[in-house]
């Protein structure tokens, strides 16, 4: 019999995040639907934890404390380790997010687990778990066998589709928070400037990204990129040339020293395709390049290319996308 698998949830705008649902889906496929148990921490986790039920999860732990909002990984790792031990779980899975990675780092150490992050697929053969994950900026893929009494996995965004949702109940068990040592509660967050989804910081979990490069020529021309992105419901990215020039802040940068992204569709506009940039986006599923220079290296890695003047092609494309989507 497979031991229970714990999925640690995370909230986005008050409901279970897409990355959490993806984690549920991966857990169900490696451990069997009936062996998956949810976990959610926050100031009022009971309402959103019902989302586990709609994903086919029948049991979940909830840790309730106002200080838990904002996902304090050190504390949550402590609570997850106790919940996992009380359940006899050997595997903990969390979605692809900043919090997921932080949690697994803490939990791996605390719980003596074998750890893998940025995982795109997880398979179980007999008693052996293997994780596949892109490495070297998506230029290679490695498979690792996870050996140990415990395993903690953080997925990569879009590692799996979310499970189909249907009405379903989840039985909640409260996890006491008072056993957490005082030193685990960390210092003050002064505030969160929530940036609209679709802007730079939403890059890592976007399913479509439109990025602009040096070919855009000036900060004010970047609205062409914004408009195309808006028509597609996409996030906006930029190459290093753009952030170096100050046309966009550095959290828009896709590349080796910026964000590493793996959307379904990546549209590179006026980007030549330096290795620095390719290392951030080469694992995108479909790559489209729009550039006036037919010899630009970006055309070597793109699936589809338009050799043309972006100042003509991009506005036409925005209009066509709007038309096709009935906007």
């Amino acid at each position: 019999m497979t031991s229970p698998t714990l999925v640690v949830g995370e909230l986005h705008e008050g409901v279970l995040s897409d990355s959490t649902k993806e984690a549920v889906s991966v857990a169900q496929s490696v451990s069997g639907k009936e062996n998956v148990v949810g976990f959610l921490a926050g100031s009022s986790p009971r309402g959103p934890a019902a989302g586990f039920g709609r994903c086919g999860v029948a049991k979940a732990f909830v840790a309730e404390d106002p200080r838990l909002d904002g996902a304090v990984a050190a504390v949550v790792a402590h609570l997850v380790a106790s919940a996992a031990d009380s359940l006899g779980a050997e595997l903990v899975i969390v979605g692809g997010s900043v919090f997921g990675r932080d949690l697994v780092a803490r939990l791996g150490t605390r719980w003596n687990a074998a750890v893998a992050t940025g995982v795109t697929s997880l398979t179980r053969t007999g008693a052996t778990l293997e994780a596949r994950r892109p490495v070297f900026g998506g230029r290679a893929t490695e498979t690792r066998q996870l050996q140990g009494p415990h395993v903690a996995i953080a997925l990569r965004p879009h590692a799996s589709a979310a499970p189909p949702e249907s009405p379903g109940d989840v039985a909640l068990t409260a996890v006491p928070v008072d056993g957490v040592p005082a030193s685990f509660w960390v210092p003050k967050r002064l505030g969160t400037e929530v940036v609209a989804r679709g802007a730079g910081p939403g890059l890592t979990d976007a399913s479509i990204i439109v990025s602009g490069g040096r070919g855009v020529r000036a900060a004010e021309n970047f609205r062409l990129i914004d408009e195309l992105a808006a028509s597609l419901g996409a996030a906006v990215g930029a190459s290093r040339a753009v952030t170096d020039a100050g046309w966009r802040p550095e959290n828009y940068q896709v590349g080796q020293t910026g964000k590493q992204v793996s959307p379904q569709l990546y549209i590179a506009v006026g980007i030549s395709g330096a290795i620095q940039h390719l290392m951030g986006m080469i694992s995108s599923r479909v790559i489209v390049a729009i550039n006036s220079d037919a010899t630009a290296p970006i055309f070597k890695v793109a699936d589809y290319g338009i050799v043309g003047d972006l100042f003509q092609v991009v506005p036409a494309l925005t209009q066509e996308v709007k038309r096709a989507r009935g906007q």
Binding site: R101, R106, A116, P187, E193, G202, M279, A324
Partner: protein, 260 residues
């Protein structure tokens, strides 16, 4: 402020990746390992903080095999780090991230450390767990995805931003702590020749690595794959921009099936 910065040498970005003969890892034969990416930027951040905070020292630490870990430490000394410690691991591939974190933690626990800086992740395995694991092992808080890190001497607090899925968060935090930097300088400082020459003779403290406790989980690489070479873009032929747009939307819909 006693600043510790952790570095890991990784293959140069221009390296042509090849699979090792046994098929499980990167072939490191003839690969040039360098201090680069987020780690190089972490050294830059450490030096900027040192310059802004009189009386500070930067101690660079690496856990890895010879000769590349030693080379990365010497490169950091040449950039302006004051002290270096090397946890020497067996030759060949680098230790897995949690093993590296355990080795680093053992070394860091014996040296003064107010602030421990790490890059967001190493450019090779991209695990991004060393900072969190170090914090757990050292018993201090950690902050990830950090941009715009500053020390406010008046309040004795670090002030910084975090870039998360929710947006940009503003934080302040006391020392000691571990910080994983999202921030990357595209043009970090380069070492001057006299400093490079001097760094070749600088002492490096060496710590022997210990075997991993048998209770700890470990990972073992079983396969290393390179994607089939991309064959180049299918170019869309067109006479007008409108035609290009129509054809592109059509292939994204019907062939690639990625149109929203």
């Amino acid at each position: 402020m006693e600043i510790v910065v952790c570095v890991k040498p990784v293959p140069d970005a221009e390296t042509r990746l090849r699979v090792a003969p046994d098929g499980t890892t990167l072939d490191i034969e003839a690969v040039k390992f360098v201090l680069t990416g987020y780690d190089e930027s972490a050294v830059e951040q450490a030096l900027l903080l040192k310059e802004a905070t009189p009386g500070s020292k930067v101690h660079v630490v690496s856990a890895g095999p010879p000769p590349r870990a030693e080379e990365a430490l010497r490169a950091s000394l040449a950039l302006g780090c004051d002290l270096a410690t090397w946890v020497e691991t067996p030759p060949g591939v680098s230790p897995d991230p949690l093993s590296a974190a355990r080795a680093l933690a053992r070394a860091i626990s014996t040296i003064p450390h107010d602030l421990v800086l790490c890059g967001k992740n190493a450019g090779d395995d991209e695990a991004g767990v060393v900072a969190g694991a170090l914090a757990e092992l050292l018993g201090v808080p950690d902050h990830s995805a950090v941009l715009d890190l500053r020390w406010d001497a008046a309040s004795s607090r670090l002030r910084f931003q975090r870039s998360t899925e929710a947006g940009m968060e503003k934080w302040e935090a006391p020392l000691p702590c571990v910080v994983a930097l999202q921030q990357a300088w595209n043009d970090p400082r380069t070492a001057k020749l006299p400093a490079i020459l001097k760094s070749r003779r600088s002492p490096i403290a060496k710590v022997a690595s210990e075997p991993i406790a048998s209770t700890a989980g470990t990972t073992r690489p079983t396969k290393f794959e390179l994607p089939p070479p991309r064959t180049g873009a299918k170019l869309i032929e067109f006479k007008t921009p409108e035609e290009a747009a129509q054809k592109l939307v059509k292939v994204l819909k019907e062939e690639a099936k990625v149109f929203p």
